[in-house]
Symmetry: C2
Subunit: 342 residues, 2 copies
C-alpha cells in the first residue's frame, strides 16, 4: 500500500487549510484526498500535494472510500458524519468537541496520553486548542509532583474562531485606524484594539463552554477526574497563537528550576525563559511553529507550593491540525486502523 | 480665593493631557496653570480652561508659585522635583512610583483609604494604574469577608506606556495590515497583533517591577502587609483601558451574588455582569469613563471559597489622572493643604 485515503471535513477553514499543509510537510502517506466543506465552498479547488482537489459535499458514498476522516468543522457536522464514517470503516480524527467527553472516545494528545488510543471504537477526538498546551505542560509536572490546582487566564487569537474572525480582525483594524466604527459579525463584540472576555457561549454557572472544556478535557486527558481547574478565556486581537497565564499549585514544594528542568525534557515543549533579555514566548513568534512554548516560570508569590508560567502555542498547529495529524501517525505506528484490528 | 495655582509635570504625555481634561470637566478650582514637560516640548502651547498655556521647563522658581503640583512623569523626574516643590510649600500629587512605598508618603485612592492622606508630609502618591482597580474591588470585599489570596493576569493597554507606545501600536498595526514588518521602539517587542508578557523591567525573582508594584501597593493601600498577591502583567494591543482576570480566595465561603451586592454598593465601582446577553466590561467601553467596571463574577471552580471576576478601567482616568484630581479634591475637602495645616 502506498498510502491512505484521507478526507478532510472543513477543508476551507482556518484549521483545515493548516492541516493540509501539515500533511504535506510531514509527508503523511496519502494515496487519495477528498475535501469537504459547507455548501458555499463546493466546487472550490484546493491544491494538495501538488494536485488540484475539488471541494465537495460530504456524502456517505464519499466516506465509503476513506481510511482517515479528519474533521475540522463544527460539532454538529461531526455528530452527523462521524458515526456514518465509522460505519463505513473509516477512522475518524475529530477536532470538534462533539465526542470529546464521550467515555467511549479517547481524547488524545499523542505525547501525553497516546495509550488511550488503544481502546478506540473508530473515533479519536483531539482536544480544544486552549486545552492542549495546558495539558502538555501539566502532564510531566504532574508526574514529578502531584498537581493540586490550576488556574488559567487565556489570551486567545481570533483564528480559534475561524477564518471569518481573522478577516473581521483585519477589517476592523483598518476601520479603527481610519477613524470608522467597526461592526462585529463573527465575534460578539468589536475585537480590533479591544479584548473580549467571552470565547464561545455562557453556561448557567457563569463560565463559558470554552472555559468548562478546559476543565473537563484536562481532567480526562490527565486521568485526574477531580483535578481543580478554573479558567477565564479571553479573545485578544491577535491573528494566530493562544497564550495562557497559568498558576499551578503542587502537593509538595517545587522550585522554578525544577519546573524548567522537567519541562525541558518533555516531548513537544520548548522552554523559552530568559526574561533578563526579554526572551519569553509570544504569539507572533509561536505562529507556524510546532512546539508549545513555556516561559516566565517563577515561584508563585502568593502560594508556598505554587509556580506561575506563561504558555504560548500556535492554536492552528499543535492546538488543532498538527495534533490531529500526529494522532493519525500514532494510529499507524500502533497499528490501530479499524482494518488492522479486524 | 478663586482657586489654586496648579502645575502639571508631564503635561504633554498621555496621562497629563487626560489630567488637564479632567480638571476642566470637574471644574477643579484653578487660579493659574503652569505646564511642564521634557525639553523637546518646551514652547508648545496647550489650551487649558480656554486659555493658552506655554509648556516650560520645571524650575524651582516655577514651583514657588504652585499650590498643587501634579506629577505625571517618570519616577526620576519626581525624585528631583517633589522634594523641591514640598520645600517651596506646594502639595505634590505624584502619579509616578517614586515615593509610593515610602512609609512617610500616603498612597491613596480616595474611595479606599482617603484617611491615609491626613498624615501627609507634602507628597501624596497615587497608585499604579493596574493596582487602583484591583484595590478598589478588594477593599469592600475585604471588609465583608477577609481576603486571603489574590492572583491576577492583566491585559494592559499601550497607553500605560505613554503616548509613544500608542503611536507605535497605530503605526505597527498599519504596517502589519500592509504586509510590512514592524519595528519595536517604545515597547520591547512588536505589539500590533501580538501580546507581550512584560510590562516594565524584570527583577531577580522573575517578576516585573509592574507585577511587584501590584503586590506591594495593594498591601499598603489595604493595610494588609501580609496579603498573598501574585500577578502576571501582559501588554495587549489595546489603546486605552486595562483589563484584569482576578481570582480571589476568602476566609469564609462567599457566593457570587454576595460579591455582586457588595461591589454594587461600593464607591467608584460599577457591576456590569449579564453574560447571558454578552454584557461584561471591555476596554473600548470603559475608555473615557470614570468607573471601575466589574463583571464575569462567578464561583471559582477550583476553590471552595474562591471567586473569579473580570475588571476593566480606563487606565488614564481612574488608573491615573482622575485619581490624582480626586486626591486634590479630597485634600481641599479635608483641609489638608500645607498652608492650612500651618
Amino acid at each position: 500500500m502506498d498510502g491512505y485515503r484521507i478526507a478532510v471535513i472543513g477543508a476551507t477553514g482556518a484549521a483545515g487549510r493548516v492541516l493540509l499543509g501539515i500533511i504535506e510537510e510531514r509527508s503523511f502517506p496519502v494515496s487519495s484526498v477528498r475535501l469537504c466543506a459547507s455548501e458555499r465552498s463546493w466546487g472550490k479547488i484546493i491544491t494538495v500535494n501538488g494536485g488540484d482537489v475539488v471541494v465537495e459535499e460530504p456524502t456517505r458514498e464519499l466516506l465509503r472510500d476513506v481510511d482517515f476522516l479528519f474533521i475540522a468543522a463544527s460539532s454538529g457536522v461531526s455528530r452527523e458524519l462521524s458515526p456514518m464514517a465509522v460505519d463505513e470503516g473509516a477512522l475518524v480524527i475529530d477536532k470538534s468537541s462533539a465526542f470529546r467527553m464521550d467515555p467511549d472516545v479517547p481524547l488524545v494528545i499523542p505525547e501525553v496520553n497516546g495509550d488511550d488510543m488503544e481502546s478506540h471504537h473508530g473515533i479519536i477526538a483531539a482536544p480544544n486548542c486552549s486545552t492542549t498546551p495546558l495539558a502538555m505542560v501539566l502532564k510531566p509536572l504532574n508526574g514529578a509532583n502531584n498537581v493540586r490546582r490550576v488556574t488559567v487566564a487565556t489570551y486567545q487569537s481570533v483564528s480559534g474562531a475561524g477564518a471569518a474572525a481573522m478577516d473581521e480582525l483585519r477589517t476592523q483594524s483598518g476601520q479603527v485606524l481610519a477613524g470608522d466604527q467597526p461592526e462585529p459579525i463573527a465575534l460578539p463584540h468589536q475585537i480590533a484594539f479591544n479584548v473580549v472576555p467571552q470565547v464561545e457561549s455562557f453556561l448557567d454557572n457563569g463560565y463559558t463552554t470554552e472555559e468548562m472544556k478546559m476543565v473537563a478535557e484536562t481532567r480526562k486527558i490527565l486521568h485526574e477526574p477531580e483535578l481543580a481547574v478554573s479558567a477565564t478565556c479571553v479573545r485578544v486581537p491577535v491573528m494566530v497563537s493562544h497564550s495562557e497565564a497559568v498558576h499551578i499549585e503542587f502537593e509538595e514544594a517545587i522550585t522554578p528550576d525544577e519546573v524548567r528542568e522537567t519541562l525541558a525534557g518533555a516531548p513537544g515543549l520548548k522552554v523559552m525563559d530568559a526574561p533578563e533579555s526579554s526572551v519569553y514566548p509570544m504569539p507572533v513568534d509561536a505562529e507556524g511553529r510546532d512546539e508549545v512554548f513555556v516561559g516566565r516560570i517563577r515561584q508563585d508569590q502568593s502560594h508556598p507550593r505554587g509556580v506561575v508560567m506563561w504558555i504560548v502555542t500556535d492554536n492552528l498547529r499543535k492546538g488543532a491540525a498538527l495534533n490531529a495529524v500526529q494522532i493519525a501517525e500514532e494510529v499507524l505506528s500502533r497499528e490501530l486502523m479499524p482494518a488492522q484490528r479486524g
